[in-house]
C-alpha cells in the first residue's frame, strides 16, 4: 500500500535536474522498456516501468534505498526503443547518483571506487602483469595513476587516509 503522506512530490524535479534524468516526466508508462529488457527476462526484481512510475509518484525513499535501481545492465535496448525518449539507462544512472548522495552506496561500488583510487584501474597492474607483457613483447603500463586518486579525492569520493589493506 502506498501512503500518500510518504510521497515526495518534488522527487521528479530533483531527478530531472540530475544528468540523465532530464526526460523522466515524458514517460507515459507504455512498458516498452520492460518488455524488451534482458535483465527482466531473468529476474522480476528489475522492472524499469515500475521504477519510473514509483519515481514519478514521489516514492523517494523506496526508490533510492532499493537494490533494483542497480540492476540495469545499461544495454540500451530500451533507450533505442522508448517512444518518449526517456533514456532509461541514463535515468537509472541519475537515480543511482542521487542515491549515492543520499548515502546509499552499495558496497561493491565503494570497493570499485577504492580500486580506482589506488590503481587508476579496476584491475590492478602489478609487476607480474608487466613481466608477462615484457615476455609477450607488449609495451609496459603505468602501475598506478595518482591523478585518478586526486580527482576522486577532490570530488569527495575517496578519503585520503591510508587503510591498512
Amino acid at each position: 500500500m502506498i501512503d500518500s503522506d510518504d510521497l515526495d512530490p518534488d522527487f521528479k524535479s530533483l531527478i530531472a535536474k540530475e544528468p540523465g534524468g532530464e526526460h523522466i516526466t515524458r514517460c507515459f508508462s507504455c512498458g516498452t522498456c520492460t518488455a524488451g529488457c534482458p535483465v527482466r527476462e531473468v529476474t522480476d526484481r528489475y522492472n524499469p516501468r515500475k521504477i519510473i512510475r514509483m519515481a514519478l509518484l514521489g516514492m523517494k525513499k523506496d526508490v533510492l534505498s532499493s537494490q533494483f535501481i542497480w540492476l540495469c545492465s545499461s544495454c540500451y535496448t530500451c533507450q533505442e526503443r522508448c517512444p518518449q525518449d526517456v533514456k532509461i539507462p541514463e535515468l537509472m544512472n541519475a537515480l543511482k547518483n542521487i542515491a549515492v548522495k543520499e548515502g546509499y552506496l552499495p558496497s561493491v561500488m565503494k570497493a570499485q571506487l577504492d580500486l580506482l583510487a589506488s590503481f587508476g584501474r579496476l584491475l590492478e597492474i602489478t609487476d607480474f602483469e608487466n613481466e608477462k607483457r615484457k615476455d609477450l613483447d607488449l609495451p609496459l603500463l603505468q602501475e598506478k595513476t595518482e591523478e585518478v586518486r586526486i580527482i576522486l579525492e577532490r570530488l569527495g569520493l575517496h578519503r585520503e587516509e591510508k587503510s591498512d589493506r
Binding site: 540530475e18 544528468p19 540523465g20 534482458p38 535483465v39 527476462e41 531473468v42 529476474t43 526484481r45 528489475y46 537494490q67 542497480w70 540492476l71 540495469c72 545492465s73 545499461s74 544495454c75 540500451y76 535496448t77 533507450q79 533505442e80 533514456k87 539507462p89 537509472m92 544512472n93 541519475a94 543511482k96 547518483n97 549515492v100 552506496l105 552499495p106 561493491v108 561500488m109 570499485q112 571506487l113 580506482l116 587508476g120 584501474r121 579496476l122 584491475l123 590492478e124 597492474i125 602483469e129 608477462k132 607483457r133 609477450l136 607488449l138 609495451p139 609496459l140 603500463l141 603505468q142 595513476t145 591523478e147 585518478v148 586526486i150 580527482i151 576522486l152 577532490r154 570530488l155 569520493l157
Partner: protein, 311 residues
C-alpha cells in the same frame, strides 16, 4: 541478399591514420590474447598504434556513482590523446561508448567543458579541448582498412567454420551518442567481418541479447543467467565458436562459462574468439602469436577443423 555496401567507406589504398591504443582495465589483465591478436592483425594491415602508458580506466564504472567524476576521468584520458594529437582506438566496447559519450557531452556543452577544464587544470594540470576522435578497433578494420585490403590478406580457408557473432551492446548503442553507425536492432557489420575471414556467420535466437556484464558486480546470479541464455541459444545452433569484440562480454561467456555450466547443469565447451584472433587465423598468423593458448575454453576442435580444411 543483404546490402553490405556501407562497409567500404574509404579507398583501401590509403593507410589508416595512426591511433593511440586505449586498453582500459580488462584487456591488459584478463584479455591479453585480444591485445596480442589486435596488434598482430593491425600491423599486418598497416594500422599503427601509439601507446600511452598513463592511460587509466575510462571512467565508465563510476558513471553510476558520480556522473561528473566519470566525465573527469574520461576527459583526462582524452586529454592524453589530445596532447599527442592522435585519435583514440579502443578494444573494449564499453570504453569506446564511455569515451565517445564523454566527448559528445564535453563538445555539446560549453559550460560543462569550462568546468571540466578548470578542475582538470587546477587538480592535475591538464586540459581537454574536445578534439579527439574515438573509435573501436573493429570499426577501424571495417571503415578504414576496408574490405578489399582485408580480403587481399586472407590465406587460410576457414569455410568449414560456423561462427556465432556477438555484437555486444556498447558497440552500436546508444545511437544518440554514436550516431547511427548501423541499425542497432539489426546490425550486420560483425557478420560481414566474419564472412570476410571466409567463415560462415550464423544466425541464432536472440542474437542481440546483452551479456549481463553490466550487473556482474551487483548481482552475479542475474548476470550469469543472462549470459547462460545466450550460451544456450548459440549451442542450439551448433556453432564452432562465438566471436566478439569486447573483453567484458568475453568475461561473461568464456571466463564464466564453467560457472554457468555448473549453474545450468550442462556442458557448453564453447570456444570464444576475439574477432582479431579469427582474422589472424584467416591471415595465416600462427595460433600462438594470436594468443590462442590463453583462451580459457581451448579451441582445439576448431583449429583441427581448420587444418583439415587447409590440408
Amino acid at each position: 541478399m543483404r546490402d553490405w555496401g556501407f562497409i567500404v567507406k574509404k579507398k583501401a589504398t590509403v593507410n589508416p591514420s595512426p591511433y593511440a591504443l586505449f586498453l582500459g582495465c580488462t584487456v591488459p589483465v584478463r584479455a591479453v590474447n585480444y591485445e596480442t591478436s589486435a596488434r598482430k592483425v593491425a600491423s599486418r594491415l598497416g594500422v599503427q598504434f601509439t601507446d600511452i602508458p598513463e592511460f587509466s580506466c575510462c571512467g565508465y564504472p563510476i558513471k553510476s556513482v558520480n556522473h561528473y567524476a566519470y566525465l573527469l576521468m574520461a576527459a583526462r584520458n582524452l586529454a592524453l590523446a589530445e596532447e599527442k594529437a592522435l585519435p583514440l582506438c579502443t578494444l573494449c566496447s564499453a570504453c569506446c561508448g564511455s569515451l565517445t559519450e564523454a566527448n559528445h557531452q564535453i563538445h555539446e556543452d560549453p559550460a560543462l567543458r569550462k568546468r571540466i577544464n578548470e578542475d582538470l587544470s587546477r587538480w592535475i594540470g591538464k586540459k581537454y579541448e574536445g578534439g579527439v576522435r574515438v573509435t573501436h578497433f573493429t570499426r577501424v578494420l571495417q571503415e578504414e582498412v576496408g574490405e578489399k585490403r582485408i580480403a587481399a590478406e586472407i590465406q587460410v580457408d576457414l569455410s568449414s567454420l560456423r561462427l556465432a557473432p556477438h555484437y555486444g551492446c556498447h558497440y552500436t548503442k546508444p545511437t544518440t551518442v554514436y550516431g547511427r553507425l548501423e541499425d542497432p536492432e539489426n546490425p550486420t557489420s560483425l557478420d560481414r567481418l566474419i564472412e570476410l575471414s571466409g567463415a560462415k556467420s550464423i544466425s541464432y535466437e536472440n542474437k542481440l541479447q546483452c551479456c549481463g556484464g553490466g550487473v556482474l558486480a551487483i548481482d552475479e546470479g542475474v548476470a550469469l543467467a543472462m549470459a547462460g541464455r545466450k550460451l544456450d541459444h548459440v549451442q542450439a545452433c551448433q556453432a564452432d565458436a562465438m566471436v566478439l569484440v569486447c573483453p567484458f562480454c568475453n568475461i561473461m561467456y568464456e571466463a564464466n562459462q564453467k560457472k554457468i555450466e555448473k549453474a545450468n547443469a550442462k556442458e557448453y565447451k564453447l570456444p570464444v574468439l576475439f574477432y582479431p584472433q579469427l582474422l589472424g587465423l584467416a591471415m595465416g598468423i600462427a595460433p600462438d602469436e594470436l594468443g590462442l593458448k590463453m583462451n580459457r575454453v581451448r579451441p582445439t576442435e576448431l583449429l583441427k577443423k581448420i587444418s583439415r580444411g587447409a590440408g
